[in-house]
């Protein structure tokens, strides 16, 4: 399978992040290229989630540069990141509990919906046309992730594994170019993990979406990612293809040392 990688999508240079006196990330640099699946691994508390939060603007690093698509990025809010095509899922599911699956996924398209609340008030006409147009796209995502039978179910009633899938659906609905997945397979059984792996690969394959993913299951990471960054205590200790990383003595040390 010949996959074509493109230019660097996002280049993180010497990123450091502190909360008060606590250093979450120290001088971390790595990049992500177009169409690849890039994994971030590391023991608990290594700063993996913080790294994703830096990429999509939830946290603002005190030091370092972020070059996004060739441009130095200024301090950016999460919604701006979203409007530039970055979507993500969360480690602890962050769905909108009071809404149905369908509505949750529809919110993923909010940036592409151009009508205002005045149109929505009147509904019939422009707003409805737009709603239907986006519903069609959302239905494609639903079909893609095979969650047709739960379309109208309130998300709160779904089992954990399906909630994760709905969250992925919401992110996909935004048609992102860069997708950040924070432990997409945590807490899933083997079958659910396999499904999720397949979906991640399919997304990457069919839409060419660049994916940055955090995952604990080493088997999964080694199977599906193109390159891996290893963090430990907020520092980068390894970077390379799965094989390179697997044989890196520093990485092995960190993992053995932390009883993983």
């Amino acid at each position: 399978m010949a996959r074509q990688f493109g230019d660097v999508v996002i280049d993180l240079q010497n990123i450091s992040l502190r909360f008060g006196g606590v250093k979450a990330l120290t001088d971390i640099s790595f990049n992500v290229v177009e169409h690849e699946i890039r994994a971030i691994i590391g023991p608990n508390g290594a700063g993996k989630s913080s790294m994703l939060n830096v990429i999509n603007g939830v946290y603002h690093p005190q030091e370092g540069n972020i070059i996004f698509r060739g441009q130095q990025r200024q301090k950016m809010e999460p919604y701006e990141a979203a409007s530039q095509g970055i979507a993500r899922t969360f480690q602890n599911i962050a769905l909108f509990k009071g809404m149905s699956v369908l509505d949750n996924i529809m919110t993923g398209r909010n940036l592409m919906m151009k009508t205002s609340f005045l149109h929505h008030m009147l509904y019939w006409g422009k707003a409805q046309r737009e709603e239907i147009e986006h519903r069609k796209k959302v239905e494609e995502v639903i079909d893609f992730l095979e969650i047709q039978s739960i379309r109208k179910t309130p998300v709160g009633r779904l089992p954990y594994g399906l909630q994760k899938r709905v969250e992925l659906a919401r992110a996909l609905a935004a048609e992102p170019t860069l997708l950040l997945l924070d432990e997409p397979m945590a807490g899933m059984n083997v079958e659910e993990k396999q499904d999720m792996c397949r979906f991640i690969l399919d997304v990457n394959d069919q839409f060419g979406t660049t994916i940055v993913l955090i995952e604990h299951d080493m088997g999964v990471v080694m199977d599906i990612s193109d390159r891996v960054v290893v963090l430990d205590y907020g520092k980068k200790i390894g970077d390379g293809t799965p094989d390179e990383v697997k044989n890196d003595p520093k990485v092995i040390d960190a993992y053995l040392g932390t009883s993983h």
Binding site: F19, S49, N53, V58, F90, Q91, A94
Partner: protein, 308 residues
Amino acid sequence: MTFFLEVLIGGLLSGVLYALVALGFVLIFKASGVFNFAQGAMVFFAALTFVGFTEVLPGWTGLAQGTAGNFWLAFILALSSMIVLGIATERVVLRPLVNQPPITLFMVTIGLTFFIEGVAQGIWGSHVRGLNLGIEDVPVMFLLDNFDMIISQFDLIAAGIALVLFVTLALLFQYTKVGRALRAVADDHQAALSVGIPLKHIWAIVWSVAGFVALIAGLIWGARNGVQFALTFTALKALPVLILGGFTSVPGAIIGGLIIGASEKLAEVYLGPFVGGGIEGWFPYILAMLFLLVRPEGLFGEKHIDRV
């Protein structure tokens, strides 16, 4: 200048009383995460129950109104009622709502406010009553003679009582077992549970202490303004104090109270005339709001980081 000081000191003294009510909020919030809007109603309930008992006790015991025996007996009965009320609230209202979002707990205490008001008036009647603690609301002669300042003797003594209460509570929390447990609970509910601190037990104690504080506040406010429905609104006075001082900080409540009390009086006196007076109803709120925009966590509150 003297006038300014007079206003300032008057403001600070009433600020101490605001702080007293705010203290009730802080205690409960710290221990159980509940923003107890009913604290004002508890003040009202306490004062009304006290007065009610002083009225009916002579018929039962023969101790005349105004005697020390009557006072203390009524005090004990009122305090017992507050404890019962506190524990009942914790049991019936809050326990079923454990782990609900804070906003739900807040709303439930609004309902509780109405309930307590209704019960208090239902039992003791709705008419305004006087409450005499035996302290005259007259200027302190010493200050009037020497500094030409009119400072109410009542306010001064009330502030003194409040301060004694603060100090006592502070000492209790610092040095008793229950106090330490309480502080542990305030820091982290889960952790406290895991080291075996009986959370529900602690909550019952805190609600009782809050009832006690409400009783003291009720007596002072009641003696000053009469025991009436309006006592409920002491809660409204305390809210800006809380915003300013933070919901979790006892010193915050005190300092917030002083700031609100002083600035409110000063604003009323110096700003009021330009806008037609009556601004003490909203001035503390606007002040607190402006303050919030700068420091959302309050003066002494802890900064909260959203974990994603």
